[in-house]
Symmetry: none
Subunit: 190 residues, 4 copies
Amino acid sequence: MARPLSEEKRNAILAAAAEAVGSLGVSASTAKIAKDAGIAEGTLFVYFPTKDDLLNELYLALKADMKAAIAAGYPTEASVKERCEHLWNQSIDWGAKNPAKRRALRQLGVSDKVTEASRKAGMAAFRDIQSMLDEGFQSGILRQQPKDMLGATTDVLTDMVLEFIHRDPGNIESYRRAGFETYWGAISNK
Amino acid sequence: MARPLSEEKRNAILAAAAEAVGSLGVSASTAKIAKDAGIAEGTLFVYFPTKDDLLNELYLALKADMKAAIAAGYPTEASVKERCEHLWNQSIDWGAKNPAKRRALRQLGVSDKVTEASRKAGMAAFRDIQSMLDEGFQSGILRQQPKDMLGATTDVLTDMVLEFIHRDPGNIESYRRAGFETYWGAISNK
Amino acid sequence: MARPLSEEKRNAILAAAAEAVGSLGVSASTAKIAKDAGIAEGTLFVYFPTKDDLLNELYLALKADMKAAIAAGYPTEASVKERCEHLWNQSIDWGAKNPAKRRALRQLGVSDKVTEASRKAGMAAFRDIQSMLDEGFQSGILRQQPKDMLGATTDVLTDMVLEFIHRDPGNIESYRRAGFETYWGAISNK
Amino acid sequence: MARPLSEEKRNAILAAAAEAVGSLGVSASTAKIAKDAGIAEGTLFVYFPTKDDLLNELYLALKADMKAAIAAGYPTEASVKERCEHLWNQSIDWGAKNPAKRRALRQLGVSDKVTEASRKAGMAAFRDIQSMLDEGFQSGILRQQPKDMLGATTDVLTDMVLEFIHRDPGNIESYRRAGFETYWGAISNK
DNA sequence: GATGAATGAGCGTTCATTCAT
DNA sequence: TATGAATGAACGCTCATTCAT
């Protein structure tokens, strides 16, 4: 069978894993994840044959989740800068609202458990977003860059700003704005 | 004194730890680190009372190493942009020449084993560098930013570019250049 | 349930622990205990979360075992002195037949791994026995004593005699008899 | 050389060992003992070739210390019962004033690190005391007992009472008195 | 003689994975 | 399919003892 019985259980495992990896790193135990997901230890391995598989699928699920949030409500008709600002704000909002997921993604990002294939697949999502901005590249408003670098820049600056927000939650708005200036400078032609 | 603590051994442990953490993450075992350092397992704990202590001291040592490399040969008399480009190039060079150290620093950066105090101390080094650019801020060439954000931006964009270089080592020069454009846009007033 | 916890295994662990603690003290290793119990090292921790838990449960099990043996065949209708002699003889017999258990109990008795709560629970068993002798106290045949002191006196004199028997096993009967005289003198009104 | 340099250091080690064994048991580390004695780790082994040697010598020293305290001020001319009461009170006082030493002696008493030879030597001290009471045996006031049993009874009942005092320090006098009644009953002819 | 760095076996405990139920 | 008891290698750390200084 291509997929085991309960989609619900699968999602519960993924959700518990995100939470656990976010707070404990990739060394979070499968026992804890199973317990938090409300299933037995052995059941986890019915859905994911090994812990590494779980970690890779979690990475992909998180990337997809993030991408969906970022693209939501994209203002097709607005100016390039406004569209970029929309993407930026969505990114910050997703991270601020889903701190555990964001932290999980950071942990997975540096872990050698996540394969090159997963990383490639994860980057593809951001290429989708990059293509939303094709007009911006053609018009010269955005600087030409090596493939995937726009997505990575977004990723990396978002994450940086979210770290500042995490350490100093009172000033979220000023970090968001300063972050966007940095971001816009980083990707646009002056 | 019976036998003085050996600075040489201490450095060997730190070097082995950087290598191991770089490739295996913070879960690299103390046994492996000791073995690679050429000492007995127990000896490691003569130099570092716990693994967490070792990890924190490694973080600090790596930050200091990186900072020294970046600041070396700083052209005090050149233009602000040239001075930034110097810092950028030094950063890329350090990372390209010390891939294990760089990877270790990434792992430590996301690990909760590294204390807030160590992070603060690590950031202080970059504030030194930021102050090298004070003239740039006063003249309005560099954009005003929240404290520590310039250092973090440098860190994060450098790291991003080094990841691209790591995956595609043939094009180091083009990544370095494209990276600097991104970086300069990120930190300067347009 | 996947596989129920095995009462048999639990008992095997407790038995192996009694043997090991009896001969090696509380520093007997969990690895040895597990091996002697015929299970894997990790399995011990399925039944007892920590070594300290094992030690405390062992203490309780041993006290219960001893108490059951002592109270067995108690001659309700006999004279107070005969009933005390019965208790005395049962105690000596239990100790002589279960030297490892007795030695384990001694080790546990002086170990700070055994909590005050366990000690309290262990003493309660002997209070049961003391209450078997209430008539003796009321009639004035037995001397009034602070609570728990009768039980402790029994414990301590039994143990002393068993040590003599242990060192000089040929004269078990004469030690038993001399011991009882000491014991009866210790607890009765002259 | 029959004895190494400093008697003072030797005594410091023994004192530190008594304290450490009293609170931590025989598993107290040589490193801690050395530190508490104000000497280097290695120096301990100059005075005692192994930890077991230290433990055995400590046992003997403690027994000697206790015996000296018990025999001090012995009232040669008093009645047998008064002389016994003196011994009893001295025992209780020594234990109450030297809780660490008493606890150390308990630990050593059950440890298999203390050899049979040391135990024999330790018992000899109490035979000295027993011989102080020879008149009592001859007159029939004290019950005839197997060799060493009087000493052991004293030891064991004293220790029991000291445990009660330890747990309930407010009632020291009532425990001491009740204890003596038990003790006198245990050793005298009715 | 005194020191304390160096050692490596041994400790209690964890954990991904297997498999009997 | 779901369960959780069973496993044993691996972990961080301790320690009695040795020996270079």
